[in-house]
């Protein structure tokens, strides 16, 4: 426990109302979407970068860890206070300052909900492309720290492609600016990009300038069903080979389709091997041409049904299955473990088949859906982690999925991060040399290991 004197000092830094040691608050700030729990000792709510800077000076002097937290929707434990100490709540820093419609930039504090940025941009006919599943509740600071992805990765990239410049409080207390508000910029090391995806271990992002894009004029949405998974996967590859870069290219496998049918009874044939939800956007004429190409590719690959939405309401109905995928799977069993193994697009079939093989071997249900266009799949393990044998089995299943993924030239995590949940597998993918330099970078930024300790198996 931390002595009263120190707590009083914290209250001086951020104000009395912004500090809590009540057990109820410590519990409510102990988890994230992994459902793992680590009790912080103190909850501190920051209002600005200066306060955070002072917090770091205090924490270094007293050797107290600080773990930053946005909305705690993360899936790898990045915001969990695994060594206790101060849990730094960022959500009250939630101002959007400015939308620059000429330079296509938005300037916002780290605690802003990502969807709010997109909503505000749309008022000016612009948009913020990254759309992680948690977009309605996650913060932009958390998205940057985890380099969050989403459904539009293939065409629009991920969070890193939209971070223009950052204000960061370093673990040693300095307030630094990384990047410039320009399209190009090569002044010194690219520390801005080092911060993106650093999972809150190198600095606390307090403010960001982000790139926006003009809203596409038109969008076409298609839903295609296939008897065979292999045909669906070939379609994914062929669409891109035909020169069409889709804004959305989602795959849903048979296990997931059955879960969706159990949940919503949409009337989809339960024997369908896989379905693809495909969208293209852009200029009016171009979108129509691309939609035609997609239809042809689907037909060539034996689609049993390929529907093009003719209205917004039809688009809505095409989306209903994909939108329900996670909810449907989540209802099957008490525990839902959402993985994000990612492979080169050409290896989609091999990975899904391997997952199905593993599921059969361990007699466990795994539904797979995800962003086939960019090879980012979400094998979702359905289980009950309260049962010891089940939990042990899940460990083995995850390890095997990761092994297959790496074997196929893929990566452990496409968009969720390493944190603590994948920490022990990190060196399955990266070499000792890479891991070594990562540790040295961490040490250079945070010599006393004050910021977010216990992550990525650095300690």
């Amino acid at each position: 426990m931390i002595a009263d004197k120190k707590i009083n000092k914290l209250k001086e830094i951020v104000g009395g109302d912004a500090v809590s040691t009540a057990v109820e608050d410590r519990i409510a700030y102990s988890y994230d979407s992994t459902r793992l729990e680590y009790l912080p000792d103190i909850i501190v709510k920051a209002k600005n970068a200066e306060q955070i800077s002072n917090l770091f000076k205090f924490a270094n002097e007293n050797n107290i860890p600080i773990t930053p937290r946005g909305s705690a929707t993360g899936l790898s434990g990045g915001c969990l206070a695994v060594n206790g100490g101060i849990l730094l709540v960022m959500v009250e820093m939630n101002k959007i300052f400015d939308i620059n419609t000429v330079d296509l930039l938005v300037d916002a504090e780290a605690g802003v909900i990502t969807e709010e940025i997109d909503k505000k941009a749309r008022k000016f006919n612009l948009f913020y492309p990254p759309d992680p599943g948690s977009i309605k509740s996650s913060t932009i600071g958390g998205n940057i720290a985890e380099n969050a992805g989403g459904l539009r990765g293939l065409k629009y990239g991920v969070t890193k492609d939209y971070v223009n410049s950052l204000e960061v409080v370093l673990p040693t207390g300095e307030i630094a600016q990384f990047g410039a508000k320009t399209v190009k910029g090569v002044t010194g090391y690219n520390l801005k990009d080092l911060m993106v995806g650093s999972e809150g271990t190198l600095g606390v992002i307090t403010r960001a300038t982000l790139n926006l894009l003009p809203l596409p004029q038109k969008r076409a949405s298609l839903l295609a069903l296939f008897d065979k998974l292999t045909d669906a996967a070939q379609t994914v590859v062929d669409i891109v080979s035909e020169g069409v870069i889709t804004s959305t290219l989602e795959i849903i496998d048979n296990v997931t389709i059955n879960a969706i049918e159990d949940y919503l009874d949409l009337g989809i044939d339960r024997n369908v091997g896989a379905m693809l939800l495909i969208e293209v956007d852009g200029q009016e004429g171009a979108v129509d041409i691309e939609a035609e190409i997609i239809k042809k590719v689907c037909n060539k690959n034996n689609t049993t049904s390929c529907k093009l939405a003719k209205s917004e309401s039809e688009r809505d109905s095409l989306w209903s299955a994909r939108r329900a995928a996670l909810s449907a799977l989540a209802r099957v069993k008490p525990s839902t473990i959402l993985e994000d193994a990612t492979i080169p697009r050409s290896k989609t079939v091999q990975l899904i088949k391997a997952i199905n093989r593993i599921a059969e071997k361990y007699d466990i249900r795994i539904g797979t859906f995800g962003h086939a266009g960019d090879g980012n799949l979400h094998p979702t393990i359905l289980t009950d982690l309260r049962i010891k044998e089940e939990a042990e089995k899940v460990e083995k299943v995850i390890e095997e999925i990761f092994k297959e993924t790496v074997k196929l030239g893929g990566t452990l995590s496409g968009e969720h991060g390493i944190g603590i949940s994948k920490a022990k597998y990190l060196q399955m993918e990266i070499s000792p040399e890479t891991f070594g330099i990562m540790k040295r970078v961490k040490k250079a930024f945070d010599p006393n290991n004050i910021l977010n300790p216990g992550k990525m198996s650095f300690d």
Binding site: E24, I27, S30, Y31, D32, S33, S71, S134, K136, S137
Partner: protein
């Protein structure tokens, strides 16, 4: 030695475990959006209830403060990917908090009022028909006739709060225009018991449920109608769970009954040149599934224009007036209402229509407070008031 009651929650550990802590509820919970305090979010509350069920924490003042800070609007349930029955869990833990005697003390006052006076006010239940007195051409005695096909269950707020009187008065007029065979319970009507149920005081509520059901049966009624969505929800969904008396009559919200009268040609709406928006009360919408009928009633009025709020039906935002929140944290309730008013203003409506006297009051109070900031004056009417204006417009 404190007695710790947690039987209701330990019965629901499986349901508690279904929460994956994904945080989808944060986006829609009116209390979280205003406080930005995780402890007060649905996910946070569930983590605390789980800790309580496992004996990690004990019931404290702070815990009860957190767990009662909720409008019971149930939007979190709509958004929850795992379909966790969050409101059920909140209600279960309240039973335990009452059992452990750790609950906001203001609830004792509420219990006292209902137990002694049979209504939520300090007034005597004999005043249940005061609102009828200034109604020209209506004799209260006639409304208390021995037998009636339909009993209008007026509810406490509409019976005692002068601001709400126009709702039951409009209903009486409409029912008379339609020549319906209807009656009231008058001073024999007791509070529906919801304030006690939602507080976790079940024992008292069970007695009330049996009493009210018996009274309706004595009138030989085939239907009861309520104008208060909370009374409706309680009659329709709570009484069957808690009452020993069997319900052998139909329970309808007044909007359903009025729509049937319009469909049968017994009420003929005349044109009104108005732009309105409709606010879905949580107990009528999300908690009872009635979204379209009130809209049909509005659309049955020729010339009227209905502009929907950006968030409507299942996604409608709460007005802040639900679930005892106002008595627990008035400031928070008002700040939720203030957001609602901004949504209403964006529709450009002349009038916001609701089908709940509590929503109507909460919204009206905020509209008045924000009068100077608003671009134009927006009125607040109950659905029944709107329909009456149309019926009495006589096809101008």
């Amino acid at each position: 030695m404190i007695k710790i009651e947690k039987g209701n929650i330990t019965n629901k550990v499986d349901e508690l475990f279904n929460c994956s802590r994904c945080g989808s509820c944060l986006a829609v919970c009116p209390v979280y959006r205003k406080t930005l305090n995780e402890s007060f979010s649905p996910r946070g509350k569930l983590s605390l209830i789980e800790a309580l069920s496992k004996g990690v924490i004990e019931p404290t003042e702070r815990l009860s403060d957190i767990l009662y800070t909720c409008t019971l609007c149930n939007y979190c349930y709509v958004e929850c990917p795992s379909g966790v029955l969050i409101k059920d869990l909140f209600e279960a833990v309240r039973l335990d908090l009452i059992g452990s005697k750790k609950y906001p003390k203001i609830l004792d006052l509420l219990k006292e009022k209902i137990s002694n006076g049979k209504n939520v006010t300090f007034d005597s239940n004999e005043g249940r028909l005061d609102w009828v007195k200034q109604l020209p051409g209506v004799n209260p005695e006639d409304l208390l006739k021995e037998n009636a096909e339909v009993i209008y269950f007026v509810g406490c707020v509409s019976s005692f709060s002068p601001r709400a009187f126009s709702i039951p008065r409009s209903i009486i007029k409409l029912l008379k225009y339609a020549k319906a065979d209807f009656g009231l319970l008058g001073e024999e009507e007791w509070c529906c018991g919801f304030p006690l149920l939602s507080a976790g005081m079940h024992g008292e509520a069970e007695e009330i449920a049996d009493y009210n059901i018996k009274k309706i049966k004595q009138k030989g009624a085939k239907k009861i109608i309520t104008s208060c969505p909370t009374c409706y929800h309680t009659w329709k969904h709570e009484y069957p769970k808690i009452a020993s008396e069997k319900i052998d009559f139909k329970i309808m919200h007044v909007s359903e009954y009025l729509m049937a009268l319009i469909d049968d040609g017994k009420l003929k709406p005349s044109p009104l040149d108005l732009t309105v928006t409709y606010h879905d009360p949580c107990d009528l919408g999300r908690n009872s599934g009635i979204y379209e009928i009130p809209r049909e009633v509005i659309k049955s009025i020729p010339n009227i224009k209905l502009n929907e709020m950006e968030q409507n039906r299942e996604q409608a935002n709460c007005c802040g007036g639900g679930g005892n929140l106002e008595s627990i944290n008035e400031e928070l309730a008002a700040s939720i209402a203030s957001d609602k008013v901004e949504e209403i203003e964006k529709t450009g409506a002349d009038v916001v229509i609701s089908a709940c006297q509590q929503c109507e009051r909460t919204i009206h109070t905020q509209l008045r407070k924000k009068k100077k900031e608003l671009k134009k004056k927006v009125k607040t009417w109950d659905l029944t008031e709107l329909l009456l204006k149309s019926i009495e417009a006589k096809g101008e």
